[in-house]
């Protein structure tokens, strides 16, 4: 499974690589990282939207995670990749907007990695 993680905090990459070190070692999951919405779209263009699942932070400078979600769901419709939104603000408004724009799931920060792993297993 290919997963693109989008977050403006660069250490998210090291954290995910450590949290999923077993899955990466066993070739169960392959991660790519983008540090802005713009970078994420670039990655999806360059890689023939190869990411199966996109975990995106909502609160990012520039293109927000919600805008990124809208772009992905509008542009890549055959079939669009799964998008899981992550935000520090687990409020109803963000949740409703994300769902309306076609988000497949919604997590709040801090990410419970056990919960996230369960969700990923369910998708696989």
């Amino acid at each position: 499974m290919n997963i693109l993680v989008v977050d403006d905090e660069r250490d998210v990459q090291i954290l995910f690589e450590q949290r999923f070190r077993k899955e990466i070692k066993n070739n169960e999951i392959e991660f790519a990282f983008a540090f802005s919405g713009e970078e994420a779209l670039q990655y999806l263009n360059d890689n023939n939207h190869g990411a199966v699942l996109i975990l995106s932070d909502i609160n990012m400078p520039g293109m927000s995670g919600l805008e990124l979600l809208r772009h992905i769901k509008e542009k890549y419709n055959a079939p669009p990749p799964l998008v899981m939104m992550i935000t520090a603000y687990g409020d109803a408004e963000n949740y409703n907007t994300a769902m309306r724009l076609g988000a497949d799931d919604f997590l709040t920060k801090p990410v419970e990695f056990n919960v996230l792993k369960e969700k990923l297993k369910a998708i696989q």
Binding site: E9, D11, I14, L15, Q18, R19, R21, N59, P61, G62, S64, E67, A88, Y89, D91, E93, N94, K109, P110, V111, F113
Partner: protein
């Protein structure tokens, strides 16, 4: 005569203490703007600290297993990971620490001491706090942030919490300008944009310096510019914006002291605060300070 003088002195004292109170309340108001941003900014480093600490606990278990198995190369690799994570924990701990210190510095009464300050870092810190503060309050708000920091600036001798307040005030105003209802054109392609730029400006002796006395070889100043592509400031109010208590915000939402205090702070630094604005295009505030 003596009685009159006493009266005047007492009135003056009252005025001075009222002024100090007003300045403090404006500071607390701008701290309020920052609170949500600060909470958001602290949450991220704390998440990293918790996560990396948890990962390390798991890694130590694995390390012990590898020791049992006498797998020395695995032991080395795991202990390397633990060490890296440890440095991440320290890094993010210090990051949270710096945010709290900055917050305390902002609310504290300024001791008026100038110190060599990294203007670019100061500007960037307040930009982030103001942005996340607004985003936390208004989830629909989004703006493109453009930064252009002149690395040649180096350290400038200023009272950091005072100039910090000026920068914060200008940034908060710029965000307000791009978040108010859009132009009547109803432009769908409008991207709210706030830019912050710093510049070291040298005027060679042949230029501005020519008018100065011999030996005064070129003066240096720095500029901090905060601009937005909001609706601009109407001509009718432009000459009032630096007046105390002047505000265009609804009653109770602005003290009307932000720009007036900012102006005084910049003046007290021997600098200048000026504005360039065009209705429909946007506004730029420029702080210039002697370098």
């Amino acid at each position: 005569m003596l009685r009159k003088n006493k009266e005047i002195e007492s009135t003056l004292n009252k005025l001075q203490s009222t002024q100090a109170q007003l300045i403090q309340s404006e500071k607390m108001a701008s701290l309020g703007e920052l609170t949500a941003g600060i909470a958001h900014e602290i949450q991220n480093p704390l998440n990293f600290i918790n996560n990396f600490a948890e990962v390390n606990a798991e890694l130590i278990d694995e390390l012990n297993e590898s020791i049992e198995k006498n797998d020395l190369s695995e032991v080395k690799s795991i202990s390397g990971n633990i060490k890296d994570n440890e440095s991440k924990i320290i890094f993010h701990g210090k990051r949270a620490d710096a945010i709290v210190k900055g917050m305390l510095q902002h609310s504290r009464s300024s001791n008026g001491q100038k110190e060599p300050t990294d203007i670019n870092a100061l500007a960037d810190e307040y930009l982030r706090l103001a942005y996340h503060g607004l985003r936390a309050k208004d989830k629909t708000f989004n703006a493109t942030l453009k930064t252009e920091y002149d690395p040649a600036i180096g350290l400038i001798n200023i009272v950091p919490q005072d100039i910090g307040r000026v920068i914060l005030n200008l940034i908060t105003n710029a965000f307000y300008a791009v978040s108010t209802p859009k132009s009547p054109k109803g432009d769908l392609t409008y991207t709210p944009t706030v830019s912050i730029k710093t510049n070291l400006i040298k005027s060679p002796s042949g230029d501005l310096g020519a008018k100065r006395s011999i030996g005064d070889s070129g003066i240096e100043k720095i500029e901090i510019s905060v601009s937005d592509n909001g609706p601009g400031i109407p001509k009718s109010v432009l000459d009032k914006i630096f007046q105390p208590f002047f505000t265009t915000k609804p009653t109770g939402q602005g003290t009307g002291l932000g720009l007036s205090l900012s102006y005084d702070i910049v003046k007290a630094h021997g600098g200048e605060l000026r504005v360039e604005t065009k209705e429909g295009d946007g506004t730029e505030f420029i702080i210039s300070l002697p370098a």
